[in-house]
Amino acid sequence: MNSNIATTSAYIDLIRTRTPLPLGRLLRAYRMEAKFEMLSALRTASFALPFIIVPIAIYLLFGVVINGDVDQTSGLGAGVHNYLFSGFSAMAVMMPGIFIGVILATERDSGLLNLKRSLPQPPGATIIAKVLMSMGVSAIALTLVVVAALIAGKITLSSTQVATIWLVLVIGAIPFTAIGLLIGSLVSASAAPAYGNLIFLPMLWLSGLFIPLPAFLKHWVVIWPAFHLNQLALGLAGVEQFTFIPPALAGAVLVGVTVICGGIAIRRLARVG
C-alpha cells in the first residue's frame, strides 16, 4: 500500500514535469537566449568590432573622402551620393548575417548545439537568437553609417527616406543570416570563414552596390541577394533614379533566399545538429 502511494506520487511528479512552460516563461527563455547571444557577440571582439567599424570606415573613405566629387564626374548628378550611401549601408547588414555561420559552426563543433538539443531549450531558440543578434549588430553598424552620412552632408534624401532605408536594411539582415546559418549548419568551424568569404566577397563586388560594373557582368547582378536588398531599400524609399527592378520582385527574391537557405539550415540542425 505504502509503495503504491509512493509510486503514485512519483507518477504525478512525472506528469507535472511534462506540462509545457507557461507562456511567460517560454517568452522569457527566448529573450534570454537572444540576450546572451547578443552579449556574447559584442564581447567577442573579433566578431562584433569589424562588423561595426568597417562599414562606417569604408563609407567615409570611399563614399565621402575619395569619391566626394563623384556627382560631377559620373554624370549621375547629386543623386549618386544617395546610391553610394545605400550601397555601403547594404554592406553593413551583409557581414554579420553571413559570418554568423562562423559562430554557428563553432557551436556545432564544440558540442554546444548538441548540449542544447539535449536540454529543454524551446524549439528554434538558437536560430531566433542568432537572427535577432545579427539584426542588432547590423542596426548598430547601420546607424553609424547613417550618422556619418548625415554629418558628411552628401546625401539628398529626406529623413523619411533615410528612416525607410534603415528599417528595410535592418530587416534585410534576415536573408543574409539565413545564408550564414546555412553555411554554419553545413561546414566545420575552420572552413566557415572561407565559405563566408567565398560568398561575401564576390557578392560585395559584383552586386553593383558601389562599384560600376563592366557590361558583361551587369546581367548577373540579379543573382546576388545584396543587389535585391539594395533595390528593395531604394525602391521602398522612393529613390526612383536608382530603382531598376520593382521592389515587389526584389522582396520576393529575398523571401525566397530566406526560405530556401533558412529551411535547409533548420532542417539540418534539427536532424544532425
Binding site: A10, L14, P22, L112, L115, S118, L119, H219
Partner: protein, 707 residues
C-alpha cells in the same frame, strides 16, 4: 575492376545521357522556334544542343542493348518480356497519356506567344509542328520496344534455328573484338548511318538523326542509327571483358570526337538554317564529308564517354546511384516543365546566361523533389526502377509516442523515467549499440561502466533524442525524447562541450535555468555546485575542472527529475569531486534519478545503487555493486615466492598467475586451497596477502570476457 563496378559505370553513363536530355531540351528556345522563341538568342546554346544531340541517343541505346542482353540471359525470355512490359511499355503508355497533353500545350502556348500573327515566311510549318501521332519525347521507349522485338525475333528465330553450333555467334564475337582492339569499331559502326544519311534527300543536316517523334511508322535513319547502337550494346555484353578495352581508349575516342565535331560545326555552321535545313553548304563533296564526320563523331563520343565512365565512375557512389536511379523518372517527366518554363519566360528580359541556368535549375529542383517524395518511396519508383525505397526506415523508433497523457507508466510494471527497449544503433558499418535494453527508475542512481567505445555516450544521446535509433524504442519521461516536453524534467552534463567563452559562469546558469519551469535560484545552483568564487569569471578563462563544475551547476539548475552525467568528474581535484558527489547523493535522496557514466570505478562503487557494464555495444552485466563483485567471486593472492608461475597456473582453481620481480600475483576461485599449497610448496614464502577482487577487477574481467 569487377563486373559489378562496370555495371555501376554504365548505369551512371545511362543516367548521364538521360539527364543531358533535360539540358538539351532547355536550350531549344534560345535558338529554335520550338517550343518558343526567346528574346535572348544564343549561339553557344545552339552549339551545346548540337554536341549533345550528336551522341546522346546512340549512347543511350548502346547501354540499353547491353543491359537487355544481360537481363535476357539472367532472367530468360518470359521474365524478360514481363519485366520490359512493366518498366518500358507501362511507363510509355501511362506517361504518354499524362505527359503528351501538357507538353503539346506548352509548345502551342510558346509558339503562339512567339508568333501571334502566325509563323513567319520561309519557315515550313509542316516540319516544325507535330504531325501524325505526336510521340513526344517518349519515342525513345517506342523504339526501344521495336529493338527488343527485333532482337528477340532474331535471337529466338534465326540464331536458335540456324546457329545451333554457335559458329555464327563466335564469328561475330571475333569481329567485335577485332574491331574494338584495333580501334576500327567507330568506322564500321558509322558506315550504316553514313549511308542512310547520305542517301536521304530530306535529311535535316544540322539536326543529324531526325528525331522520330511524329508517328508510329518506324523511320529509317533512326532505326538504322540507334538500332546499330542497340545491337552493338547487345553484342558487347556477350564479351563484357571488352569494356576494359574501351576503358583504356577513352581519351583517344574523346579526342577524335572533339576533332570530328569541330569539323562538322565548321562545315554546317553553329546554328541551324531556317530556310534550307536539308542542304550542306559547299555542295556534294562537303555533304559526303559532313555525313561521314557526323556518323563517325557519334561513335567516337559514345566510346569515349563509356570509356571515361568506366575509368572514372566505376566506384560505387551513393550520390551517383541515387541520380542514376532518379534519371529515368526525371527524363520522363521533364518535358512539360522545361517547355512550360521556356514558354513562360521567353519574354522575361534576362540574358540567356541567366535564364538558361535558371530554367535548368527550376526543372531539376521540381524533378528531384518529386522523385524523392513521390516516386522513389512509392509504387511509381517500383515500376520504373524495379524497387522502392521507403522514405522512413520501417522501425519502431522513439517517435512512436506512447500516449503523452499517461507517460511513465509501463503497463503494470514499475515507473520508469528513461527506457531503451531492444535498441540498436549503427554508424556506418560499426555497431554502437546492439539490442540494448535498459530502464531507469525514479530516485535510482545507475552507473554505466565500460571501456571507451562501449556505447555509453551513444545510449545517452539516444535517451536525450540527439540520436535516433535504427531499431527499438526509446522513451524519456514516458514519451519520445524528441518531444521538448519530455526533456523539461531532465538535466544534462555531456562530455567535451565548450560553452560560450565570453559569458560568465553565472550567465550560463541563468540561460540554462530559463529553459525550465521551476528552476533553482541562480545563487542556490551556484552554491550547490560549489562555484561561488568563480561565478563572475568568464567561462573561457576557467580551468578544465572549473568548467566541468559550471556545467554541473547548469545541469542541476532546473531541479531535474532525471539527471544525465557523462563522465562528470574528469579533471576535478579531490575537494571539487567530493562536493560534486555530495550534491549528487543529495539529489538522489530527493528522488532525482541519475544516470552516470564513469571511468572511475570507485565513483560507481561510492555512489551507485545499480551498475550496468557495457562492452562493444552490449550490456554484459547489471546488478548492485555487491552483485557485480559476487559475479566475479575471485580472490587475488600475492606473495614473494620462488615457485615458477607456469607451475602455479596448472594448479586447480587458479585462473591466472603473473610474476612481478620477486612477487607472484595469483587470481583464484579457491583462496584457501591455494594458500595451503603455496605454503607447502615453498618454505621460504613471505609477504602473503589475500584480497577480495575489487569492482575494478570484476569490471576488467567482464569486459575482457566480452572482447
Amino acid at each position: 575492376m569487377n563486373s559489378s563496378h562496370r555495371l555501376h559505370a554504365l548505369d551512371a553513363a545511362r543516367g548521364f545521357a538521360l539527364l543531358l536530355g533535360i539540358v538539351l531540351h532547355a536550350t531549344m528556345s534560345f535558338f529554335t522556334i520550338i517550343p518558343a522563341q526567346d528574346v535572348s538568342q544564343s549561339t553557344t546554346l545552339a552549339v551545346t544542343f548540337y554536341v549533345i544531340h550528336l551522341f546522346r541517343m546512340s549512347l543511350f541505346f548502346l547501354i540499353a542493348g547491353f543491359f537487355a542482353h544481360l537481363a535476357f540471359h539472367r532472367r530468360g525470355l518470359r521474365a524478360f518480356i514481363k519485366d520490359r512490359a512493366q518498366r518500358i511499355v507501362v511507363p510509355m503508355t501511362a506517361g504518354w497519356l499524362l505527359l503528351a497533353p501538357p507538353t503539346i500545350a506548352a509548345v502551342i502556348w510558346g509558339m503562339s506567344k512567339s508568333f501571334p500573327d502566325g509563323l513567319p515566311q520561309g519557315i515550313d510549318a509542316a516540319t516544325s509542328a507535330p504531325q501524325g501521332f505526336p510521340l513526344v519525347h517518349l519515342w525513345f521507349l517506342y523504339y526501344l520496344c521495336l529493338f527488343y522485338a527485333l532482337t528477340l525475333a532474331w535471337r529466338v528465330g534465326v540464331v536458335a534455328l540456324f546457329d545451333r553450333s554457335g559458329k555464327l555467334c563466335a564469328h561475330v564475337d571475333t569481329l567485335v573484338t577485332f574491331a574494338l582492339t584495333h580501334r576500327l569499331a567507330p568506322v564500321l559502326l558509322a558506315a550504316p548511318t553514313f549511308l542512310i544519311l547520305q542517301s536521304d534527300a530530306a535529311w535535316p543536316v544540322w539536326f543529324g538523326i531526325h528525331t522520330p517523334d511524329t508517328g508510329f511508322l518506324p523511320q529509317l535513319p533512326a532505326l538504322v542509327a540507334f538500332g546499330t547502337a542497340f545491337v552493338f550494346g547487345w553484342l558487347l555484353n556477350r564479351q563484357a571483358a571488352l569494356l576494359g578495352v574501351l576503358e583504356r581508349q577513352w581519351s583517344f575516342h574523346l579526342a577524335m570526337a572533339i576533332g570530328l565535331t569541330a569539323v562538322c560545326l565548321v562545315i554546317v555552321g553553329p546554328t541551324p538554317s531556317a530556310t534550307t535545313p536539308t542542304i550542306v553548304p559547299g555542295g556534294e563533296v562537303m555533304r559526303f564529308l559532313y555525313a561521314g564526320s557526323y556518323a563517325l563523331a557519334t561513335w567516337h563520343w559514345v566510346f569515349g564517354l563509356i570509356g571515361a565512365a568506366l575509368r572514372f565512375c566505376a566506384k560505387e557512389s551513393a550520390v551517383r546511384r541515387y541520380v542514376a536511379d532518379g534519371s529515368y523518372w526525371m527524363y520522363l517527366a521533364h518535358m512539360p516543365i522545361v517547355f512550360g518554363l521556356q514558354a513562360a519566360m521567353m519574354q522575361v528580359p534576362l540574358h540567356w546566361t541567366l535564364k538558361f541556368p535558371l530554367i535548368v535549375l527550376i526543372t531539376l529542383v521540381i524533378l528531384l523533389s518529386s522523385y524523392h517524395y513521390l516516386v522513389r518511396p512509392s509504387f511509381i519508383g517500383e515500376l520504373l526502377n524495379g524497387r522502392k525505397y521507403p522514405r522512413h526506415r520501417q522501425t519502431t523508433t522513439g517517435t512512436v509516442l506512447a500516449d503523452a497523457t499517461n507517460p511513465a507508466r509501463n503497463d503494470s510494471g514499475p515507473i520508469v523515467v528513461a527506457q531503451l527497449s531492444d535498441v540498436s544503433k549503427r554508424y556506418g558499418t560499426s555497431t554502437a549499440l546492439d539490442h540494448v535494453s535498459l530502464a531507469v527508475q525514479p530516485g535510482e542512481l545507475l552507473a554505466v561502466l565500460g571501456p571507451n567505445g562501449a556505447g555509453k555516450t551513444t545510449a545517452i544521446g539516444l535517451w536525450l533524442g540527439t540520436h535516433e535509433p535504427d531499431q527499438g524504442i526509446v522513451r524519456l519521461m514516458g514519451a519520445s525524447p524528441r518531444d521538448v516536453h519530455s526533456r523539461l524534467g531532465v538535466g544534462v552534463m555531456l562530455q567535451e562541450v565548450h560553452l560560450a567563452p565570453e559569458l560568465s559562469a553565472r550567465e550560463h546558469i541563468e540561460l540554462t535555468a530559463s529553459y525550465y519551469r521551476d528552476p533553482l535560484s541562480i545563487d542556490d545552483a551556484i552554491a550547490l555546485a560549489g562555484i561561488a568564487p568563480i561565478a563572475h569569471q568568464r567561462y573561457g578563462r576557467l580551468s578544465g575542472g572549473q568548467k566541468r563544475q559550471v556545467q554541473f551547476a547548469a545541469a542541476i539548475c532546473g531541479r531535474p527529475q532525471l539527471l544525465f552525467l557523462d563522465e562528470p568528474t574528469v579533471g576535478l581535484d579531490i575537494a571539487a569531486r567530493e562536493t560534486m558527489w555530495r550534491t549528487i547523493r543529495r539529489l538522489r535522496d530527493q528522488g532525482c534519478a541519475i544516470v552516470l557514466t564513469t571511468h572511475y570505478l570507485e565513483e560507481a562503487e561510492t555512489l551507485s545503487d545499480r551498475v550496468v557494464v557495457m562492452a562493444k555495444g552490449r550490456v554484459i552485466a547489471q546488478g548492485s555493486v555487491t552483485e557485480m563483485r559476487a559475479l566475479v567471486a575471485r580472490k587475488r593472492v600475492s606473495c614473494a615466492s620462488v615457485i615458477a608461475v607456469d607451475d602455479i597456473k596448472s594448479w586447480t582453481g587458479v585462473v591466472d598467475a603473473i610474476r612481478e620481480n620477486d612477487r607472484v600475483h595469483v587470481t583464484t576461485v579457491d583462496a584457501e586451497t591455494l594458500v595451503r599449497r603455496l605454503l607447502a610448496t615453498d618454505q621460504g614464502l613471505s609477504h602473503l596477502e589475500v584480497k577480495q577482487a575489487s569492482l575494478a577487477d570484476a569490471f576488467t574481467e567482464l569486459t575482457r570476457e566480452a572482447a
